[in-house]
Symmetry: C2
Subunit: 249 residues, 2 copies
Amino acid sequence: MTARFYTPDAHRVGDLVDLPPDEAAHLARVLRLTAGSAVRLFNGVGGEFEGVVDAVSKGRAAVRLTGAREPVAEPRVAVTLAQAVLKGDKMDDVVRDAVMMGVAAVQPVVTARSEVTLAALRRGGRRERWHRIAVSAAKQSGRATVPPILEPCAFSDLTTALAQMALPGPAAMFVEPSADEGTLALSDLSDPPPRETTVIVGPEGGWDAEELARGAAVCRMVTLGRRTLRADAMAIVALAALFAIWKEY
Amino acid sequence: MTARFYTPDAHRVGDLVDLPPDEAAHLARVLRLTAGSAVRLFNGVGGEFEGVVDAVSKGRAAVRLTGAREPVAEPRVAVTLAQAVLKGDKMDDVVRDAVMMGVAAVQPVVTARSEVTLAALRRGGRRERWHRIAVSAAKQSGRATVPPILEPCAFSDLTTALAQMALPGPAAMFVEPSADEGTLALSDLSDPPPRETTVIVGPEGGWDAEELARGAAVCRMVTLGRRTLRADAMAIVALAALFAIWKEY
């Protein structure tokens, strides 16, 4: 199979583009491709190209774009996943799988029961790390789009953004099966599918009472069956179930 | 929340039952419960009980069953997950999440591209390990049923079992989006939901040509969207999507 590289500068057939340094290193040192090799490039904003390696030198690889390809179609519903930041590297796995499944954006959220602060995320360069994971997940899954990792925010900022329609709604906020009556089952979510929406998934310890109240004011509260799931499986299950009822699968 | 223990011997209100040794140790040493403590027991075959600790001694804990509880409902469709054994401990995670989601049984399968043999699984006590994971997943998820981990088998034994209806069919075999035409989308799977079925998910390297041919003879071949997913996310995505179209969620 032809190797495929992420190249944000790839936009027009005929152009000669430089691969980013890490992609160039992968091309040269790992795959040992040389001038004349056929490659594929995607630019992260939906463009997919055929190309031929023009020149490889220390730390650089230049590719001539020889043709445009039809990119893998994006899901019909553009889902922003607002995921409460999980412990350790579990958030990395959720970002990876959510991107491979086709989310349009990831909004990391710090909640009352998250074990991390916005300052610690910033200091740790976590957003940049999740962006690199999103690039790698787009490569693996065949997507030509790298969904943005939005600036991490507090839960109250999330509900404000939803109220002000800075994030797409009506949002679905997923809650434990033991939660209050008045929550919806997935099958209650209205047809037809929305054009875009936000899906909100909580942390290991669940939501606190204030978050549930704030969430209920701007979201549809949804449960997924009667069994408790692991926090790190929740987003994958929710996205798969939503894509299924929206006939994406 | 009242602590909940797995006790296969719990069957009738009024009985005095011994917890299995590891559950007794958890009750006594970790949770430090003593005689008179209220507990909940489930027996792994759908029974859920209230109980009171009667006596705790070295390595033993006896509980009097004081009442029956309504167990968390099982899914309406009984799904046997036939999962190709994945690398390292990834299979453990799939077993855990699949049990938490509600599968009726797990059939581990060794395929052409699995990196393990049936003999190695047996030597490593992997089936017993997956059973312990299933018990722990039933505890975490609130299920009163511990689904059986069936004896691992080769892929050819799986298709034979399906052909002889030793496993429930028609089975759905999940294949890569790049697979041949003639595969179904999830939304093509016929209504109404079956009473029981088998869902077949492949290993990291995918199916080989012979497996695809054998599978196609006894299964419906299904793709899930147009993006490639990680092998260890596939079962979770497939189960969630199926439960969604079957109105389990």
